[in-house]
Amino acid sequence: MMSTPSTTSAQETNAATAVRPKLAVYKFSSCDGCQLSLLNLEDELLALANAVEIAFFLEARRAVVPPPYDVGLVEGSISTPEEAERIQQVRRDCRTLITIGACATSGGIQALKNWGDTEEFVRYVYAHPEYIDTLDTATPIAAHVFVDFELRGCPVNERQLLELITAHLAGRRPNIPSHSVCIECKRKGYPCVLVSQAEPCLGPVTHAGCGALCPSCSRACYGCFGPMEHPNVESLGSWLNERQARGHRELSHMFRSFNGYLEPFKQASESHERRANQV
């Protein structure tokens, strides 16, 4: 049912450099924000379009160069039967598959429906539920196909995205640190939001990459880059419960947002939810 746009207008302007690696950008269930991060590289965009052949990127161009592609960037989660099928083809078409952002890496905000009753959701919002074809869950790409690299963030940080593409072109490992937002925050010398403002900051358990943006605005981190490697979510949860008197309902919601379906945030949100329901 889906056809690709015409390739007849595909006048590659840089035909001379025909050996450039081919880049494809795909969208699944998402807000387009992570793809936009690519277009937000204003200073590097034209150079990038010269270094790689942008072979498939519907949001930016009509021309399509047929697969295979060297690198595929995937935005969005899998939430419809059509998407579950399409991702298989995408995997076959791309030598390296990279997920960009929380939707593709953890299921994203739409994964909140995974804890709801999808049928009720459809009825809540639709005059004609029969027109709607949706899966019961929104799931990360890695739940469906092998993924070579996952870039965090809702949205991804465009500098990290550029580093990832550049590293790939150079054949080296990307420099994407896996420590917590806390470390970035300390390095920049921001006052600790958790301690000095008594705000419920997820910085201690959240994956670095944003440059501690929320603390820079005097705000608690809400975890949009998802869990860091081996976070101690249990101890942060207890600390917030005891020292800041945060209720289990609130704690459950904190862990269950843009990366709520990714472990161990998922487990933490469920455990706080259970405790909230006991009271």
């Binding site: 746009p5 939430s79 919002v125």
Partner: protein
């Protein structure tokens, strides 16, 4: 694109995946001889159920969640949510003027980056005959580079108070987590002024050098119409055909239909029909409120186009977006020039049970929100009416009119022209997909 030619002279033109729009949509056109049988702008963006899963979340979380409806205009969603929730919490009247002003500043940044992205990277290639800005850059590097510079500045404005341009973190119900740093204001101002001057040139360039297809229609234009200033965050909702309602009365003025070929709902003005929102609607209804810098440009643009306002041709949305970008840049410059750190950047809010409805002007047009909360400030009901679903009926009517003129045009050409028309509306398909509670909205007319 695929086309089928059958014995009976029926041809189907289908663009299965529209390019250079945000989100996933398709064009479907069926012609029987010289008759246009069927025209559909299909929207197959997957449903994400925002309104459903907002239920039970705290009002304070809402602006961050609704921002994720659209990565291109997150500020629009944050602004709609904040204003509507401040009404629900009964504090709307207490919001400081300085907070309102900084909201305009933030929004100006989003208008700039979104308008410039659309005008030069997504829409201009249609006018100049390129498949993308990437190809266009080979021949028009100067234009593309100037546009990228202004777009970057738009992002910098949003980031200066929001932290980042996609899903800013600085916004909260009640204002901003932190005020704009005066040092940042001083640092940004020269670039804002430089971009403002250049944008004026670029607007004249597009007005003078492009050919605008002639597709005149008698539209109903709808936008916010504040007493003072060009519409952005505040104002009554008015149209050129007599609609004039308070923000809270908007739901009574329109009806929405769920049609089979769309996961977005089509909105129409009750008893009348389709309408248009967005830059053209705002400009036609509010031209006299433009910033002086944009106002002085307007007659030159009208001269170059040979068209006085009102502009009743959707292809003229391009110069309209240009004038609005000039307006937004001039507004941002004024705000920065006179900026002083305010006494506070947010007001305190005590949760309560309530209901609040409010729309603001997203780059693509009115984006209207309504929330109900319980005593603890938890959401019990949410409705969001984004711009593209309001324009969808109008786009299809435009397409029908255009298709009538394309009966002798080869398929590929015809498809391109239809796509061009769709892009006049800068359709944001990610936004347009939202879901309403039909069961509980007794007043709704069901198709």
């Amino acid at each position: 694109m695929s086309a089928e030619q059958t014995k009976s002279d029926i041809r189907t033109i289908r663009v299965g995946a529209l390019a250079r729009v945000e989100g996933e949509g398709a064009l479907h056109l069926v012609m029987d001889g010289d008759q246009v049988d069927d025209v559909r702008l299909e929207i197959y963006e997957p449903p994400r159920f925002y309104e459903a899963f907002l239920r039970g979340r705290s009002f304070r979380e809402v602006p961050d969640i609704t921002a994720r409806i659209c990565g291109i205009c997150p500020v629009a969603y944050q602004m709609g949510s904040c204003h509507a929730l401040e009404k629900a919490m009964g504090v709307f009247d207490q919001v400081d003027d300085s907070i309102h002003l900084m909201r305009d500043y933030l929004y100006a940044g989003e208008w700039i980056e979104s308008h410039v992205l659309h005008m030069f990277l997504l829409h201009l290639p249609d006018f100049l005959g390129y498949e993308s800005a990437i190809s266009m850059a080979a021949d028009h590097a100067d234009i593309v580079q100037r546009a990228l510079r202004i777009k970057k500045l738009g992002n910098a404005i949003v980031s200066s108070i929001g932290g980042r341009s996609v899903h800013p973190v600085g916004v909260c119900v009640g204002g901003f987590y932190a005020p704009l740093d005066p040092k940042k204001a001083t640092a940004l101002l020269p670039e804002v002024k430089a971009c403002l001057d250049d944008m004026c040139e670029l607007v004249l360039f597009v007005a003078r050098n492009l050919e605008y297809p002639d597709l005149e229609r008698d539209y109903e234009f709808l936008s916010l119409c504040p007493d003072e200033g060009y519409p952005m965050n505040l104002g009554r909702i008015r149209s050129n055909k007599g609609l004039d309602v308070e923000q809270e009365e908007f739901l009574d003025a329109i009806e929405e239909r769920h049609v089979k070929h769309s996961t977005a709902l089509h909105a129409r003005i009750r008893t009348r029909g389709s309408y248009m929102v967005g830059p053209l609607a705002r400009l036609n209804l509010n031209a006299e409120k433009l910033h002086p810098r944009a106002a002085e440009l307007l007659p030159k643009v009208c001269d170059a186009l040979g068209k006085k306002l009102p502009w009743t041709n959707s292809f003229l949305s391009l110069p309209a977006r240009g004038l609005e970008t000039v307006h937004a840049l001039a507004l941002a410059a004024d705000i920065l020039e006179n900026y002083e750190r305010p006494a506070r950047s947010r007001i305190d809010i005590t949760p309560r049970a309530g209901i609040g409805g409010h729309g603001t002007e997203a780059p693509r047009g009115l984006c209207w929100h309504q929330y109900r909360t319980d005593d603890a400030g938890m959401i019990t009901d949410a409705r969001i009416i984004p711009p593209t679903s309001q324009n969808q009926s109008t786009i299809e009517e435009d397409l029908r009119l255009l298709a009538n003129r394309l009966v002798d045009t080869p398929d590929e050409q015809a498809a391109l022209q239809c796509e061009h028309l769709i892009r006049n509306y800068d359709p944001c398909i990610s936004c347009s997909v939202h879901f309403l509670d039909f069961n509980r909205s007794q007043k709704k007319c069901r198709a």
